[in-house]
């Protein structure tokens, strides 16, 4: 799964950092930093669920998630 953030929309609300702190953080200037490396397959399902929660919680809808592993996670 690839995490894409539209930085033109991001207003540093931090809802994604709250929901998925392993994959979103702020740098010293409060700019959002994205940490990729979402595990594919069943072992990554909890992480992907947290990321979906992060995307849903974004007040400016700046986060999109793209499945990279064929079939994995679909419909889970």
């Amino acid at each position: 799964m690839h995490i894409h953030v539209d930085m033109n929309r991001c207003e540093s609300h931090g809802q994604c950092v709250f929901a998925a702190p392993d994959h979103f953080s702020f740098d010293e200037d409060d700019t959002l930093v994205v940490h990729q490396g979402v595990p594919d397959g069943p072992e990554g399902e909890a992480v992907r669920a947290a990321l979906r929660e992060a995307a849903a919680a974004c007040p400016v809808q700046a986060i999109t998630l793209q499945d990279t592993h064929h079939g994995a996670g679909a419909g889970a």
Binding site: E11, S12, H13, G14, Q15, V17, F18, P21, S25, F26, D27, E28, D30, E53, A56, A57, P59, Q61
Partner: protein
């Protein structure tokens, strides 16, 4: 659940999110989404900011389309009554809609002035409200008076001065937003207003408006007169519950729910297959064991989002109390953008008995405050310190867990944890 028809009453953030959550969680029955506004679902926070500043239009604030939900979307039709025994929703056009599951998501309305007002006196809750206010604000020679310096009133005042409109902001309390975020943060906001050129009048109220057909200003309680061509009433929000009168549901300002969002009857029992989400609802929160009735009405954007997923789950998987998992611990959050700064807050600062200022730098536009109750963390607020705010969240989750495990009540000796 066996329900084959779920009706969602209210098509704004909480309603449309719950409709989506129902489909995401596998509901394949009939879904109806009823909204009183003529527009497709849209997001309200930009109404006082980008939309009012004429920078954005409807497309910029539209919520994700509900087209892919295979739902019957009925816009422009307010709900008129709920007939619980017949499992029937009555609409204002007289139509009756039967349901097996019901989501109450009718939101809130702007609190009106208690008397007739001349033209040019606005409230701001809907897209149409924002467009009408924008028309008056962008007219030649516009002068704005904002009544109420809470979040909405403060944001509109900030937007207006940025547009070059002379703006007076009247607040009954001594500081803006003080009840919500305390004196230090309220004073910070007051100084931002003053530096930006907002004429801030605190500790006074509007006694009456002047102007026969069209508003010309207002007489204040301190004896002064403020000239204005346009007025915004920002006096808070009132949950849309009038249509539930006589329904048998417990309504205390807002629809009273349990921590899952299941609505309660007047006798306090859970009403099967009916949930309430977003601004129309009030519910217990583990951080807030203090309030006398045990429930909180928050009206935050993020609360509506959190309610929706949980509401869909309990609607699709009803169970006795013993079978439901413990509700997830959420931490309330809210924000305000004004005069170029980002105010971000977590928890329940309005319930704090102590506010500790960690950083206060007005010229640098930086602020960090931690809020406490009975010595325990209950909230945090920052101005342009998002990284530091994020660090409070795990502390607040832990505090909520401790309070849930050992609740205290107001006036009792704090429980040792």
């Amino acid at each position: 659940m066996s329900a084959r028809h779920i009706v969602v009453v209210g098509a704004s953030l909480a309603g449309s999110r719950t409709a989506r959550a129902l489909r995401d969680q596998g509901f394949d029955g009939r879904l109806t989404l009823v909204g009183d506004e003529p527009h497709a679902p849209y997001d309200r926070p930009p109404l006082s900011k980008q939309l009012l500043a004429d920078a954005w239009e409807f497309d910029d604030i539209a919520l994700p389309s509900t087209d892919d939900l295979d739902a019957d979307l009925r816009t422009g039709v307010p709900a008129a009554a709920l007939r619980l025994a017949d499992r029937e929703l009555v609409l204002a056009d007289g139509d009756r809609v039967g349901w097996d599951g019901l989501v109450i998501a009718t939101g809130a309305a702007a609190r009106p002035w208690p008397a007739t007002v001349p033209d040019g006196v606005h409230t701001l809750r809907t897209l149409d409200d924002a467009r009408a206010l924008r028309r008056d604000l962008t007219a030649a020679g516009a002068r704005l008076l904002v009544v109420g310096a809470g979040f909405l009133g403060s944001e509109v005042a900030a937007t207006a001065v940025a547009l070059g409109v002379p703006t007076t902001l009247v607040e009954a309390e001594e500081l803006p937003m003080a009840r919500a975020i305390g004196a230090v943060a309220g004073d910070f906001v007051a100084r931002l207003h003053q530096e930006a050129g907002v004429d801030l009048r605190t500790g006074t109220t509007v006694r009456s408006f002047t102007g026969a057909d069209r508003v010309t200003g207002a007489d204040l309680g301190d004896g002064t007169h403020v000239p204005a061509t346009v007025v915004l009433l920002a006096l808070g929000a009132v949950p849309h519950t009038a249509w539930l009168r006589g329904s048998g549901l417990r309504v205390d300002g807002a629809v009273v729910c349990d921590e899952y969002g299941r609505v309660l009857a007047e006798d306090g029992t859970v009403v099967p297959d009916v949930v309430a989400v977003g601004d129309v609802s009030r519910r217990p929160h583990p951080l807030a064991d203090g309030p006398a009735d045990g429930t909180l009405h928050l009206g935050h954007w993020s609360a509506a989002v959190e309610h929706s997923a949980l509401a869909a789950r309990v609607l699709l998987h009803p169970a006795g109390d013993g079978d439901l998992p413990e509700p997830p611990v959420t931490v309330p959050s809210f924000w305000s953008d004004l005069h170029g700064v980002r105010i971000r807050s977590l928890g329940l600062p309005h319930l704090a008995d102590e506010a500790r200022t960690v950083e206060h730098d007005l010229p640098g536009r930086r602020l960090e405050i931690s809020y406490h109750r009975d010595g325990e963390p209950i909230g945090a607020l920052t101005v342009d310190r998002a990284r530091r705010l994020a660090a409070y969240r795990p502390l607040l989750v832990e505090a909520a867990r401790r309070r849930r495990a050992a609740p205290t009540t107001v006036g009792s000796v704090p429980t040792t944890v």
